[in-house]
Symmetry: C2
Subunit: 224 residues, 2 copies
DNA sequence: CAGTCATAAATTATGTGCAATCATTGTAGA
DNA sequence: TCTACAATGATTGCACATAATTTATGACTG
């Protein structure tokens, strides 16, 4: 039994939990606030038991990260996510992830591979109802591969895009078959990793991202 | 005679000039504040003739964009730029620019091509002393190709990375031979654009970015 | 005498409350 | 029904209080 279940996704991805910034990020990623929602400073100040200024600063930071948008004299909203947004994010991930993977293929030791397989095992053991946990595991799987990359800028960038994706998917269902496909795809990535077969691993990753983007975009269209 | 000289770089890249955010960005990109400099809120408030709060918010936004770093209870500093930072930025640009270029190759009309050539002409006409103007023209050249791309996220991302480069290079000289090489490389990009030869244009662009990264990294090392 | 450490003062960051401006909503009148 | 106007609510910017850090000063030690 691994202790993956004990640690939450956000405690791993963020160094300063409990801050207004992190809590807001969590609420957006979890779907408490969804695309287009107004983010009223006074209300948020109450929610996080603080005053207006810290809230404003967190919002500005999130604006810089592309998760919140401002309109002059009209306050902040959760960035408007629509079909094109998702396409944009997936296309960016399609650029970043193969690049990040390359380093991992060359430099990884045995330990992270074992962790990847532990994550995979937990995915397989999940019942289809633990959708949120599956999303977390999926994210952690990729995180495990990229987190030690030397290019911290790109790693942070990847993190942000991944969070936007989580926010986009927060209130959407996942079919059992999609989960199964994702598990298979992750397995198809691990296999060439062992042999440090760069082209095969890249191909599997590209396929995995493409497949994900495809699934969600179809889901978004049908949810209109 | 074109009127490129009349408009500044920043008025083209940013929609809201005059704000604290934009002015801070300009000052960082221009090298007024350099890598590691403390950004004291009270001093900035005086400089921009405003109070502390707007300054803090601009700093937080810039933190989100990766240009400013915060230390708890110790305020903000210009993000620490060193050799590895430059390498990271160039590697990211190497991912983004070919992607952005693809769209331009397929969709461009005659007008932007003409503007590219006008920019090129102005570069050629420059004396070697107008180093700042050359950097602006170089940026505007790429901007002209990418600015209409459908993926606004990536375009904004490119803009930020380009600004970080400007900040990194702000107080460094450019040799006359480097300017000439850059001009040649731009020409090598325009030629295949006309014929919508994607592979050739991409190759020329990749070469151009690589060449730039190479030049600056050597310069940084010798400036120790 | 030089260097280091501890202590004190000044400076700065952070958080709170408050006025003014702007946008939005609702209402009354044409 | 549409327009003009008033009232409400929120954003924005500002001044202040508190807490932390950085800097400066002086004493002590090798």
């Amino acid at each position: 039994m691994t202790d993956n279940t004990q640690e939450s996704l956000f405690s791993r991805l963020f160094s300063e939990p409990g801050t207004v910034y992190t809590r807001l990020l969590e609420d957006i990623a979890r779907g408490v606030f969804v695309s287009g929602d107004r983010l009223v400073t006074t209300a948020l100040a109450q929610r996080y038991a603080t005053s207006i200024n810290p809230v404003r600063e967190a919002l500005k930071q999130l604006q810089g990260e592309g998760l919140v948008s401002f309109q002059r004299n009209s306050g902040a909203r959760v960035m408007h996510f629509e079909y094109t947004t998702m396409r944009d994010v997936y296309e960016l991930l399609q650029l970043l992830e193969p690049y990040l993977l390359d380093w991992f293929i060359e430099e990884h030791t045995e330990a992270p591979l074992a962790r990847l397989e532990a994550l995979l095992e937990e995915m397989k053991a999940l019942t289809t109802k633990d959708v949120d946990r599956f999303k977390e595991l999926d994210t952690l799987f990729h995180w495990e591969m990229y987190r030690h990359h030397y290019n911290r800028d790109v790693v942070d960038l990847w993190k942000r895009q991944r969070l936007r994706l989580l926010a986009l998917h927060a209130n959407m269902p996942i079919s059992g078959s999609r989960i199964q496909t994702a598990i298979d795809e992750h397995e198809a990535i691990i296999a060439p990793l062992r042999q440090r077969d760069k082209t095969a691993a890249r191909a599997a990753l590209v396929q995995h991202i493409h497949s994900g983007g495809d699934y969600w975009s179809r889901l978004v269209r049908s949810h209109r």
